[in-house]
């Protein structure tokens, strides 16, 4: 009982740290805006409205869905110390796989929806899984093989949508509109907020549970902490690597499928990668510091920053680039939260020491 209280007392300041970092980041951002001649209050107001006002939240939720999924795609392998930088390729392959199935499989929605989602997951997983043997058999670091595989995968989807899958007569490299049966059902009164969010949240819950309550989650952490220890304990590092990468690729592919199966219901060249979901997801995952349960929070933060800065440009004419600067400042300030975290940890240790 008192142990729990003590643990809470120690955890509370630890939770305040990222919060404080956000506050500092916002202050720095305010200075940046003021220097640029924008009233910070108006700027932030526009940013928040740009993301969260009744009229914008629909889009924001769609972005959030994608960023959350991509943060998970980075966070899962990061748990065992592997960095997945190939989110773009996995996202695009997932999207194109889902589009192909939707376009060529005549089936009712009840069948087509899950099949498309699974196809997307498989597409992403297939690409990510290549990096596992490259790492465990050939010794090519995951961080580099995922990065190197991403561009060719995106190029492949670009080729497909430009030639074999191109919509006839369109000036844009895009597939035809997917059949109605492949449209993810949206929430009443919205056009972007759809079942995709539910799917991603369920996947997240699953990931959190696997991480904290299953042997596999434990083994992933062990492998992340010390490969030699894992091998010694009989854990199959190659299998864990493959597993986490497949899971990561599947989540990214799922995100691709969800995007394609939402408005405007097609695979458009560039539409999946250009918004930068992958890097927003990476930033969100890094800021969550390896705790999957924190991902919704950090993903929401980056959604507000990205979606909101578009609104800021529209409403108060803050250039888009300032939005990027603001995001960068948030990332940098949050990166330095380790300073504060270290300080809190030292205080906590001293507190314990005082009792002993």
């Amino acid at each position: 009982m008192s142990g729990l209280v003590a643990r809470l007392r120690l955890a509370a300041p630890a939770a305040l740290v990222p919060l404080g970092a956000v506050v500092v980041a916002l202050l720095v951002g305010a200075v940046v805006m003021a220097v640029a001649g924008v009233d910070p209050l108006r700027g932030y107001d526009a940013m928040v409205r740009g993301a969260l006002s009744v009229s914008n939240i629909d889009f924001a939720v769609a972005s959030f869905t994608a960023i959350l999924a991509m943060s998970l795609a980075f966070a899962v392998p990061a748990r065992m110390g592997e960095y997945n930088l190939g989110g773009d390729g996995q996202l695009a392959l997932g999207g194109i796989s889902a589009a192909v199935v939707a376009l060529y499989l005549p089936a009712p929605a009840i069948v087509l929806l899950p099949v498309c989602l699974v196809a997307g997951a498989l597409g992403g997983a297939a690409l990510a899984s290549v990096s596992a043997p490259l790492s465990t058999r050939a010794g090519v670091p995951v961080i580099i093989s995922t990065l190197l595989l991403s561009a060719p995968a995106v190029a492949l989807t670009s080729y497909l949508v430009r030639f074999p899958l191109a919509e006839r007569g369109s000036a844009v490299p895009q597939t035809s509109r997917l059949p109605d049966a492949a449209h993810l059902p949206s929430f009443p009164g919205t056009s972007y907020t759809n079942a995709g969010l539910v799917v991603v949240v369920l996947v997240l819950l699953l990931a959190v549970r696997v991480d904290s309550r299953t042997p596999v989650g434990y083994e992933i952490r062990v492998a992340g902490a010390n490969r030699g220890f894992a091998a010694y304990g009989g854990l199959s590092v190659p299998r864990l690597t493959l597993g986490t990468l497949v899971a990561a690729g599947a989540v990214a592919g799922l995100a691709g499928a969800i995007i394609v199966m939402s408005q405007p219901f097609r695979f458009i060249d560039d539409a999946l990668t250009a918004p930068g979901y992958t890097f927003a997801g990476i930033a969100a995952a890094l800021l969550a510091g390896g705790r999957p349960a924190l991902l919704p929070l950090t993903a929401a933060l980056f959604t507000v920053l990205t979606v909101g800065s578009a609104g800021m440009e529209r409403d108060v004419d803050v250039p888009r680039q300032l939005g990027q600067v603001l995001q960068a400042v948030v990332i940098l300030v949050l990166a330095l939260r380790v300073l504060a975290a270290r300080w809190v940890a030292r205080r906590a240790r001293d507190a314990v020491g005082g009792k002993v």
Binding site: F59, A166, A171, V172, R320
Partner: protein, 323 residues
């Protein structure tokens, strides 16, 4: 917000407003800059308020269209076919709002959407005719940003036009591609250099921001260049032959005026016949344009002939984007 109460035509106090939505950032993109210029002109002329929403990627387009609709301007203007999807659906949900799509048209066309499209391939064909006539090495080329159907509207007719006057001319298209196809001048220059090294002496530059580098190759004497959308003859003085013009500013201003006058729902196509596209060579002020073609009235004469043939239908130019 100017608090306009009466819809439709602007009253005397609040002349009204238009919102222009672009598919990409405007800076460095000749076509978009020209279109926005046209919007500014007509806004000034009519005393309209003008707002420009720049999209950064396909996803933000829909968001900008809906945000624009919420502002209830007199006209929501979309630039380029990338907005076609949004303009197929949003107008249906907002029947009282007028829309103008430039460079594309949704099918079916909602009643409250006016369309304006260009037959830029016709002008590109004429530029190809010039290139075919002027090429000494019988090798010509194109540096373009990306291999998409839309951009092919410059690439393919340019080659076809050249071949129409000299079947031995070969055309090599190169696409910048990579991470930033519309803004990677170094890559654009490298590709232009490849064409120069291979002996191409007439090269169409259709790579937007990546053109800057390609023009440097022209300046250094690598080849003679052709610009796109606006007069770019000053980009490599003495080395630019001509430009494939697309008078989007005129078309946009015209369409806005029409809509404000109540003539909504049309689909105006601007080709050579309508004077919506053309070449600098065919303009009245060609002599002061700084373009090389000004020194070759003979070639201009031949191009005029082909122009007539296209207009009267004896020559048809395939549209690569029409499937």
């Amino acid at each position: 917000d100017s608090g306009s109460s009466g819809g439709g035509e602007g009253g005397e106090e609040s002349a009204g407003s238009i919102i222009v939505i672009t598919p990409n950032p405007v800076g460095g993109n000749n076509f978009l800059e020209l279109a926005v210029q046209g919007a500014e002109d007509v806004a000034e002329e009519k005393g309209l308020e003008l707002d420009v929403f720049e999209s950064t990627d396909p996803t933000s387009i829909q968001q900008n269209v809906e945000a624009a609709v919420r502002e209830k301007p007199d006209i929501v203007v979309g630039l380029s076919f990338s907005l076609q999807d949004a303009f197929a659906t949003v107008p249906l949900d907002n029947p009282d709002q007028q829309f103008l799509l430039v460079d594309g048209c949704p099918d079916p066309q909602p009643e409250n959407v006016t369309c304006a499209a260009f037959r830029e391939h016709e002008a590109a064909y004429l530029a190809g005719v010039e290139a075919g006539l002027l090429s000494e090495t019988k090798q010509i080329g194109v540096v373009a940003a990306l291999d998409t159907p839309f951009i092919r509207r410059w690439v393919d007719p340019f080659a076809a036009g050249a071949a129409s006057v000299d079947a031995t001319v070969t055309s090599t298209p190169l696409f910048v591609g990579g991470d930033n196809p519309f803004g990677d001048p170094a890559r654009g220059k490298a590709q232009a250099q490849v064409l120069a090294d291979q002996g191409a002496d007439q090269v169409l530059l259709a790579a937007s921001g990546s053109n800057v580098g390609a023009f440097e190759v022209a300046t250094a004497g690598g080849f003679q260049a052709y610009g796109v959308d606006v007069n770019e003859c000053a980009s490599a003085p003495g080395q630019v032959v001509d430009n494939v013009l697309k008078n989007v500013d005129v078309a946009l201003a015209g369409a806005v005026t029409e809509i404000l006058d109540g003539n909504t729902g049309g689909f105006q196509v601007y080709g050579l016949a309508e004077d919506g596209v053309g070449l600098t060579a065919l303009e009245d002020d060609v002599d002061s344009s700084g373009c090389l073609i000004a020194d070759r009235p003979d070639v201009i004469e031949q191009v005029r002939e082909v122009q007539e043939q296209i207009i009267d239908g004896t020559v048809t130019v395939d549209d690569p984007a029409a499937g």
